[in-house]
């Protein structure tokens, strides 16, 4: 496994930290989210000992949930960070994050609900969303 990883890293070449600045920041932000930290922390408890209902959560189901949550939180972090320089439209967010127009649209609802993003205004028919940075 280590050899495989080494070879993979070799094929990828030197890491361009500047080009991946936002992605790295998003990873950090994702790892800091309460949801991800809580789910990771509870993994063994829930899959090995059991949950509050006295049931053990299946390991593969839990991994799936964790994967989906991490992906979703990472994508939300990317969206949030993409708004650091000013308000953007959904298409502009997508062009900076590459997570797909529809996905950006869907995740914006969650970010708005959590008070992290708000509708800033319109340019013609295009709404611009702004991050709320306290």
């Amino acid at each position: 496994m280590v050899t495989e990883l080494t070879e993979l890293v070799q094929t990828m070449g030197p890491f361009d930290a500047e080009a991946n600045k936002m992605a790295l920041a998003a990873v950090l932000r994702t790892l800091e989210t309460e949801t991800v930290r809580w789910l990771m922390g509870m993994q063994r408890e829930l899959t090995e000992k059991g949950n509050v209902y006295g049931e053990k959560v299946k390991a593969d189901a839990y991994m799936k949930l964790l994967d989906e949550t991490i992906r979703s939180e990472y994508q939300k972090s990317l969206i949030y960070l993409s708004l650091q320089d000013g308000p953007l439209s959904v298409r502009e967010i997508d062009s900076r994050t590459n997570i797909g127009i529809q996905t950006v649209s869907n995740l914006l609802s969650d970010l708005e609900g959590r008070g992290q993003v708000e509708l800033h205004g319109y340019e013609g028919r295009t709404p611009k969303f702004a991050g709320i940075f306290l």
Binding site: W38, V52, L65, S105, D110, T126, P127, F129
Partner: protein, 1018 residues
């Protein structure tokens, strides 16, 4: 569980389904002396209405109008809301049912839960948000919507992973993971089913691209998009990319009038109107011009004021209406969609839109069908509850009634009407058990505070973190301590919790507090509860004031904690200033006359009278003519084929022989005085004005009926072969064989209706003409029958009749208002010329008989209008208090309406409305006394200039100039709206609890910034 009373019948009713129909039925029953168990499978009540943005045709905010009903039901001492629960089966019979329930666990104790939302904020897992129709996600700990009743969270066990976080965070200790499914039973005397319908799921319709394109949405999804509480906060956006659409198309009849893609051959009855409303509202929400187009077959705007709404949408808002059949909806680039359709002339066309809304129909859910089967209720071929036209809310099982969309697809007002009708029907067999199971609250004597210095207690709420998370609550509390007259301050985690209520009661007594201020959430939901609390502590309930530091402060200033804290201080200071000037007010308690007056002896009037008389209330039934029966005497059959003649005959006999009904024929109402509970009405013999009788009664029901208009076109009155619909009915009734030799019959629809001078649809004519056309076909199967129409409006299951007519060979030809048919008889025979838009040319139809579907008009009722001071609309139909939620109430208390006087309607709807009016009247008559609120306008005679401003201003017609020469406002009639107070130029009127002195003190205190100023009483 309510125990059985000593009577043989149980004085409680179980209402299954807590949508608007279930809630209305529950409120009417509870108000008329029955204990109600309101059972719903959902964690909260409300049904579909909270999901809607606006309601047609008034564009009222749906949530705003339903919310008070939710609160009323939630707070009612005699309504037991049983959420998260399903009915398994029912044993017994009318008067003595045992209902077996399955109570699903919600894992959060609704009594302890304060609705603070902390559990939701931290829950790590999410699920599709059903309330927003899948347009966003919600946590596994959830509440359906912020105004939900009960305002308590639930755990979605399917999604919850059982991590335990919510329990750790819940300060109210409301989380109960150990809760399990329970089984329980209820003893009830009657049952009302109001389970509602589900929206048709168009996923299987691949031709519309719904399943795989985000910009094709259902109408309910679009409601959520438009709603301020929806996923986009009311901004019109496409789900795909949030762009504001340039164009939106609505496709009608998706899952309705369709036996090809689904089995729903019926019309869902509401989709045309909601589509128009959505188009109009979407235009209002749009920043840039929005093109809207509705693709339809027939525009069914048949209800009260619907046609005007349709016309305004077309003429003023520019909504396009495209009569067509849609073939497919195909995705094109940039999230756009191409609609390929065939127009009326048969041309295949296509047009691109940014969004497509599918006007999905309604159907009973699988769960409802299974429930009906378990209860032994007969269903019709479409799985709706089977009922007869003459007993519209009675199911096939005695003692079990039905209302709302489960009877047939319908809009909100008719659901509300039917709900009240079901309440009346359920009450009738249980009369002997009225008030045997209801609860009343015993209260201590009120403490006299007159002459005492104000001693204000201030309770500042953290509302979990809703307030405390954003504003510095301890700082607000400490600030309040130094305000004038304040003798006690404290802050509470939840001021509304049970333990805090107890604490408030104790503190009031301990510290001799005589005014109370609570700084928390909205008075709309919580003021009655706090008023009740201080009343239980012996204080007059009007010695209470509230500062809304949540909805109007921390919720809107979450990003400005300092500002929010300052605003909270300002609001508290302002409330304290008013509280110091509050006076105890006395609520007037009056006895009442438990007698009803019903005006109009048609079917509606007779049904209303019998419904009340069967409940034991004496009724005076007044009929202007010498005969009971009204229009129904001229009708033959209902559209379902039931014999109207024998029904009316039986009804008349029952009325004439009923011990509680006093009949006044050839009599009219000429004068009325008094107020709810105590009216005096003078009746006068039509043929002998000197012969007058005064009737004393507590309520009035107006059922003055309607009539068929006399056409002024199409050779009516000039040629004997031209008949109105009712004339045809009469001839068929007398001798149908006369029509056996008729070879060609033509019906013309909308004669005098939907015209500029009478801009409403008469609603019943399409069904009636088709019914008559089928009758002619039966008499002579070779007869050529043509129906010339503008839109066929066979709403609901009447669509089956339309289908049958086409199958029988009746020919339908559409005409437009601009190109009406021409009728001539120059050569001796009748010739009807009409342009056929499908053939694209004029047709000339020789006719042996021409039947005109002439408009339905309200009967003139000038005396009633004058005597009862009730309002009519421009067309002369009586105006209800609220088109949606008070469809049988007049604006003035104690007055109700039903039948054709309200709007044209079929006999089953008239009967249901009459029963509804009776149920509403029973909510007054069942009580021994009437307690009136104390917030009333009061006149200072010395200042009154008798200018009549108040008389003209009052929307309820209460003020009058009394014998002493100044304005008099009867507290019994006053609604406390304050309109006269604001308008009185002499400042002669004040509104109790909102006096100028109190409001000025409140406003001045709000504007003060320095506490020193406040303390100095500046």
């Amino acid at each position: 569980m309510a125990a059985k009373s000593g009577n043989s019948k149980v004085g409680s009713v179980m209402v299954v389904g807590a949508g608007i129909a279930g809630i209305q039925a529950s409120l009417d029953l509870a108000e008329s002396g029955f204990y109600v168990h309101l059972v719903d499978a959902s964690p909260s009540i409300g049904g579909l209405m909270p999901q809607l943005d606006k309601t047609f045709p008034t564009n009222d905010c749906s949530m705003c109008i339903v919310s008070p009903k939710l609160v009323d039901a939630g707070r009612h001492l005699n309504i037991n809301i049983i959420s998260n629960t399903e009915v398994d089966f029912v044993e017994g019979e009318v008067g003595n049912f045992t209902a077996h329930l399955v109570n699903h666990p919600r894992f959060i104790d609704p009594v302890k839960c304060t609705g603070c939302g902390v559990c939701k904020q931290h829950c790590p897992v999410t699920a599709v948000n059903e309330f927003n129709e899948g347009l966003d996600r919600r946590a596994a700990t959830y509440i359906k919507y912020p105004q939900a009743v009960p305002l308590a969270y639930a755990i979605d066990r399917e999604t919850c992973i059982g991590c335990g976080l919510c329990e750790k965070l819940c300060l109210a200790k409301a989380v109960v993971y150990a809760e399990e499914e329970r089984r329980s039973t209820l003893e009830v005397g009657a049952i009302i089913l109001a389970p509602g319908n589900e929206v048709f799921d168009p996923t299987a319709f691949d031709t519309y691209s719904y399943a795989h394109h985000p910009n094709v949405v259902t109408s309910l999804e679009f409601e959520r998009i438009l709603s301020a509480s929806g996923p986009y906060q009311g901004h019109l956006m496409r789900p795909y990319d949030r762009e504001e659409p340039k164009s939106v198309a609505w496709l009608q009849c998706v899952g309705s009038r369709d036996i090809n893609h689904c089995d729903n051959g019926y019309c869902s009855a509401v989709c045309c109107m909601y589509a128009i409303k959505e188009a109009v509202i979407a235009k209002e929400h749009s920043h840039e011009p929005l093109d809207t187009a509705i693709f339809f077959m027939d525009m069914r705007t048949y209800g009260k004021d619907f046609e005007k709404y349709y016309e305004r949408a077309r003429e003023e808002h520019g909504v396009r209406f495209i009569r067509s059949r849609v073939h497919t909806v195909d995705p094109v680039e940039e999230g756009r969609l191409k609609i390929i359709y065939t127009d009326e002339e048969g041309k295949s066309l296509e047009e691109e839109f940014d969004m497509v809304v599918l006007s999905s129909g309604f159907q009973p859910s699988k769960r409802t069908v299974e429930l009906a089967e378990r209860l032994g209720i007969e269903l019709n071929e479409h799985n709706f509850a089977e009922t007869s036209s003459f007993e519209p809310v009675k199911t096939s099982r005695e003692g079990i009634f039905v209302c709302g969309a489960f009877r047939d697809p319908k809009d909100i007002p008719i659901s509300v009407m039917e709900a009240s009708a079901a309440a009346a029907a359920a009450a009738a067999p249980l009369v002997e058990s009225r008030f045997t199971l209801t609860k009343t609250k015993e209260l201590p004597a009120e403490r006299l505070v007159a002459g005492e210095e104000p001693r204000v207690g201030v309770f500042v709420c953290n509302c979990g973190i809703n307030i405390g998370g954003y504003a510095d609550v301890p700082a607000v509390r400490d600030y309040a301590r130094n305000l004038p007259n304040v003798v006690h301050v404290e802050d509470n985690l939840f001021t509304c919790s049970q333990d805090t209520q107890e604490k408030i009661r104790e503190v009031i007594k301990e510290k001799d507090i005589n005014r109370v201020v609570v700084a928390s959430c909205s008075p709309r939901t919580h003021e009655p509860m706090f008023q009740e609390t201080i009343r239980e502590a012996g204080l007059n309930k009007y010695l209470f004031e509230m500062a809304n530091i949540r909805d109007q402060d921390t919720w809107v200033h979450q990003n400005d904690p300092q500002g929010a804290t300052q605003k909270a201080k300002d609001l508290v200071r302002s409330a304290v200033a008013k509280a110091a000037l509050l006076d105890p007010l006395e609520q007037t308690v009056l006895g009442l006359n438990k007698v009803a007056l019903v005006v109009g002896g048609g079917v509606a009037g007779m049904v209303a009278a019998l419904s009340l008389a069967d409940q034991g209330f004496p009724v005076h039934l007044v009929e202007k003519t010498g005969e009971l029966g009204g229009n129904a005497l001229k009708l033959r059959k209902t559209w379902k084929g039931e014999d109207i003649g024998s029904y009316v005959k039986d009804l008349v006999a029952r009325v004439q022989s009923h011990e509680h009904i006093t009949l006044h024929t050839n009599t009219q109402v000429v004068a009325n005085t008094g107020f709810v509970g105590n009216f005096d009405t003078i009746l006068e013999k039509v043929d002998d004005p000197e012969q007058k009788t005064t009737v004393q009664h507590g309520v009035s029901i107006v059922a003055t009926g309607g009539k068929e208009s006399r056409p002024t076109e199409y050779l009516y009155g000039e040629d004997d072969r031209v008949l109105t619909a009712l004339e045809l009915d009469s001839r068929l009734k007398e001798d149908g064989n006369g029509f056996k030799n008729v070879n060609r019959a033509v019906f013309i629809q909308c004669v005098g209706s939907r015209e500029p001078e009478r801009p409403y649809c008469s609603k019943i004519c399409c069904t009636h003409s088709i019914e008559s056309a089928l009758q002619l076909k039966e008499l002579n199967p070779d007869m050529n029958v043509y129906i010339l129409y503008r839109d066929i409006r066979t709403y609901g299951f009447r669509e089956e009749l339309y289908k049958k007519a086409r199958a029988k060979g009746i020919i339908f030809i559409r005409y437009s208002l601009e190109r009406k048919p021409q009728v001539s008889n120059g050569s001796g025979s009748l010739q009807v010329q009409v342009y056929d838009p499908i053939l694209g040319r004029d047709l000339v139809i020789p006719a042996d008989a021409l039947v005109l579907a002439s408009a339905v008009l309200p009967n003139e009722a000038k005396e009633v209008v004058r005597a009862l001071k009730v309002n009519q609309n421009a067309e002369g139909f009586f105006l209800e208090a609220h088109m949606k939620l008070r469809p049988v109430d007049f604006g003035s208390d104690g007055l109700f309406l039903c039948g054709l006087a309200h709007y044209p309607k079929s006999i089953d709807e008239a009967i249901a409305q009459a029963q509804a009016a009776a149920a509403r009247a029973a909510t007054v008559l069942a009580k021994d006394v009437i307690t009136l609120g104390a917030v009333k306008a009061v006149v200072e005679p010395d200042k009154c200039a008798v200018c009549l401003t108040c008389v003209r201003t009052c929307p309820f017609g209460v003020p009058y100039i009394g014998e002493d020469g100044y304005a008099v406002i009867d507290p019994a009639g006053c609604h406390g709206c304050g309109a006269c107070v604001a308008e009185c130029p002499g400042k002669a009127i004040s509104l109790q609890h909102f006096t100028d002195k109190q409001l000025i003190a409140k406003t001045e205190a709000l504007l003060l910034k320095e506490i020193g100023e406040a303390a100095a009483g500046k």
